[in-house]
């Protein structure tokens, strides 16, 4: 029997380490430590309902487990074989308890290929990985396939890059293989810069061996013997798990010299990123690995010709790599049978925002946004109204109600004015202001622009100034046109992908939420109540009993007494001086008589 406890970041933040410890202690006290193994896994995906505990082999999925629940699980489930009903997931529709994750709305429409092992194995144990088919693909390519056959198989599968651009992976490998020389590199891009996404991190934390194996397969296919993973220093657990995986693979002869007696040598080293979004761009990433400032350079030359140390290099994203081993074992035709016409396989998304089931999901390409948001995501939090869904992070756009039936694939999302991106998917309800969201992304780009080329460095700053003006109620209709003009210039003339895509969040909100921009400019109104400068705090003089509680709490001394006493009250009512008010909201939360409101 196995007890799997989620060790992903979300569940760790809610005491999963203590849960593990309690399991170990209680099992040991009952002398069960040899029969029941406690395993700390990577993220199960259903972070919203974490911490997750799963009991194998009967596949019972406990949600929102607290450290003090452990004793009950051991006594009831493990010893007596009875499921602890009140810790099971409850279907929000029919209020029935569901024990097997397969039958939960959250998992039913998912298909797990890249995440196949996440939540099933102990990521720090290579034997568990091997027992689920790990390294089978590496064995197969080394013993049965020529490098060219590997390239052909990956090409035939239709796998495209999951890092954002969607370039066909097999074709990329083929181009690199053509530049054969004695020093070549396989690079894994684990910089994951989209602020609001954690797909790659979860794969590395939950199934690091799949990356190690895929990089070795890629090395064999293109003729490289060195692998490098460029990983964010902010991901200590992922770094640790990769290090453990690499060390174990070496020990088993799956990395190093003469792998599996085939004569093929391959080894992997880690390089650390240091918090610069632009370093996710492949040329910048390579410069950073060489110990330089991570500034992009013009392509060509492409990394396939001149990459790390000016040698031919193949850069792929973590999730791209995670798909490779299973394509080799199950075959290109199997993979190509999943997904839509031009986008094969599945895509992992970090589903977040104002949605009931936040978490990590993997769906076949071609699934609609509606299915993701309402079936898997369980709809909008608190029954509020859906407003927009953002994909593609700072390079993408916001889609609306009318796009809900758009199938998720590279082409359809681009046609709708957004992009696939690396997998961030943030759902917004009517409490989000779309002008403020555009500004949020632009602030990010301005902070992250490397400053090398002026359209991006200066143009984005200009756009941010205009957006700030608009959110502060100083915008004009000409400003809206100016935003479009600037966006067009930046898109055309910026040097790298960061600049070229940075206007997208602004353009897509201008297209889809024009009314909201106009409201900010003409009516000086923010309908979501987000833009502080457009808010007005007012005291209803009829409701105010003159207690003065708000006055005491106001940090700006904006509240004073009037000489009006409302009928039925004894003291004069209060009033707010809008020129002094800093819109902190302190008064509203102190007033017990609901006399203060925001307009």
């Amino acid at each position: 029997m196995h007890v799997l406890v989620c060790g992903g970041t979300g569940c760790q933040a809610s005491a999963s380490a203590q849960i593990i410890k309690n399991f170990e202690d209680i099992l040991a006290a009952k002398g069960l430590q040899d029969e029941v193994q406690v395993v700390r896994t990577g993220c199960f995906g259903f972070c919203e309902k974490g911490p997750i505990v799963k009991i194998m082999p009967d596949n019972t999925f406990y949600t929102q487990v607290k450290p003090e629940d452990v004793e009950k699980i051991v006594n009831e489930h493990i010893i007596k074989g009875r499921k602890v009903t009140d810790l099971l997931y409850m279907d929000p529709e029919n209020k029935e308890h569901v024990a097997d994750s397969k039958h939960m709305g959250f998992y039913r429409k998912q298909l797990r290929i890249a995440l196949r092992n996440c939540g099933f194995i102990n990521p720090e144990n290579i034997d568990e990985c091997i027992s689920r088919g790990g390294y089978e693909a590496l064995g197969k390519v080394l013993s049965e396939m020529t490098p060219q056959q590997v390239v052909d198989e990956v090409t035939k599968s239709g796998l495209r890059g999951r890092g954002g651009a969607g370039f066909p992976t097999g074709v990329k490998w083929g181009l690199c293989a053509k530049n054969k020389c004695d020093e070549m590199y396989v690079i894994c891009n684990a910089d994951e810069g989209d602020p609001g996404a954690f797909m790659d991190r979860s794969i590395m934390e939950g199934d690091p061996h799949s990356i190690v194996e895929a990089m070795a397969i890629c090395g064999y296919a293109i003729g490289a013997t060195h692998g490098l993973v460029y990983i964010r220093a902010e991901y200590p657990l992922a770094i640790h798990r990769l290090q453990v995986a690499i060390a174990q693979a070496r020990e088993y002869g799956l990395l190093g010299k003469d792998i599996l007696g085939s004569g093929f040598d391959f080894d992997i080293e880690l390089r650390y990123g240091a918090g610069a979004f632009v370093c996710g761009e492949e040329t910048a990433l390579i410069h950073s690995m060489e110990g330089k400032r991570g500034e992009p350079t013009l392509k060509p030359p492409f990394p396939a010709v001149s990459g790390y140390m000016a040698k031919p290099s193949n850069v792929n994203n973590v999730e791209t790599f995670a798909n490779v081993p299973i394509i080799i074992t199950k075959g290109a035709d199997w993979f190509a049978s999943i997904g839509s016409e031009k986008s094969k396989g599945t895509k992992v998304f970090a589903l977040a925002g104002q949605i009931n089931n936040v978490g990590l999901i993997e769906v076949p390409m071609g699934t609609t946004l509606r299915d993701i948001i309402y079936e898997i995501g369980g709809g909008i939090k608190g029954g509020r109204k859906f407003k927009a869904v953002q994909t593609g992070g700072p390079s993408g756009g916001c889609l609306t109600e009318k796009h809900l039936d758009t199938p998720i694939d590279y082409e359809s999302l681009a046609a709708a004015g957004s992009m696939m991106g690396s997998g961030g998917m943030v759902v917004m309800d009517d409490t989000s202001c779309m002008v403020a969201i555009a500004k949020f992304y632009l602030e990010f780009t301005c902070e992250e622009s490397c400053g090398k080329c002026s359209p991006c460095r200066i143009g984005n700053k200009r756009m941010l100034e205009i957006l700030t003006k608009i959110t502060e109620g100083r915008g004009t209709m000409d400003d809206l046109q100016e935003l479009r003009n600037l966006a067009a210039v930046i898109k055309d003339t910026a040097l790298c992908g960061l600049g070229q895509t940075s206007p997208n969040p602004v353009l897509s909100t201008l297209d889809n939420f024009w009314d909201e921009y106009v409201e900010h400019v003409v009516d000086k109104k923010c309908r979501a109540g987000v833009c502080k400068k457009l808010m007005r705090y007012e005291i209803d003089k009829e409701k105010c009993i003159g207690c003065g509680a708000c006055k005491k709490n106001c940090p700006a001394e904006a509240i004073s007494k009037t000489d009006y006493i409302a009928p039925g009250h004894k003291l004069p009512s209060m009033t707010i001086d809008p020129s002094k008010c800093i819109k902190c909201g302190a008064c509203i939360s102190t007033c017990k008589f609901s006399a203060i409101s925001v307009k």
């Binding site: 970041t9 979300g10 989209d194 609001g196 918090g275 060489e290 400032r293 991570g294 925002g353």
Partner: protein, 158 residues
């Protein structure tokens, strides 16, 4: 910035780190990671020493420290507080939590309280979006934050 005299132990540690990377200029980022990991920040004196050991101009080291947001030239507080401003946290109200932290600590982002106890920084997505909005105090993650909870969290460290 105040001039800091590096202790001999510090100097030796930094020299050893540089040596462990073969004093190669290409390893400067790895060296800085190690040194900051030990001392928490990278003041000018440390940058000068690293530059000398690796045989590169100080301007190149400074160029790297200022380019990458992970590297910092200001010391952290005893309890560094980071507020996640990733998209998921932002749409669930992270800014309001940040405002409240600023108000209660009386400092801005990038600053340290006068008693050296707390420092305040922002970061983007810690991978716990399910618990958004999220803040970190040291290594501890606090999820589902609200402005009202700020006081209780700070009280744990007072």
């Amino acid at each position: 910035m105040a001039v800091i005299k590096l202790s001999e132990a510090k100097v030796n540690f930094i020299k050893d780190v540089c040596k462990s990377y073969g004093n190669k200029p290409g390893e400067v980022i790895n060296v800085l990671h190690k040194v900051q990991g030990e001392y928490g920040y990278l003041p000018a004196e440390i940058q000068e020493l690293v530059a000398k050991e690796l045989g590169i101009p100080v301007s190149r080291v400074y160029g790297i420290v200022s380019f990458y947001s992970f590297f910092t030239m200001t010391p952290k507080g005893e309890y560094p507080i980071s507020v996640c401003l990733g998209t998921a946290c932002y749409v669930r109200g992270a800014e309001k939590v940040l405002d409240e932290l600023k108000r209660q600590l009386g400092i801005n982002v990038g600053e340290v309280t006068p008693d050296g106890k707390f420092s305040l920084t922002c970061l983007r997505c810690v991978g716990a979006c399910g618990l958004a909005p999220v803040i970190e105090v040291g290594d501890k993650v606090y999820g589902r934050m609200t402005p009202d909870r700020v006081k209780d969290v700070l009280a744990e460290y007072k």
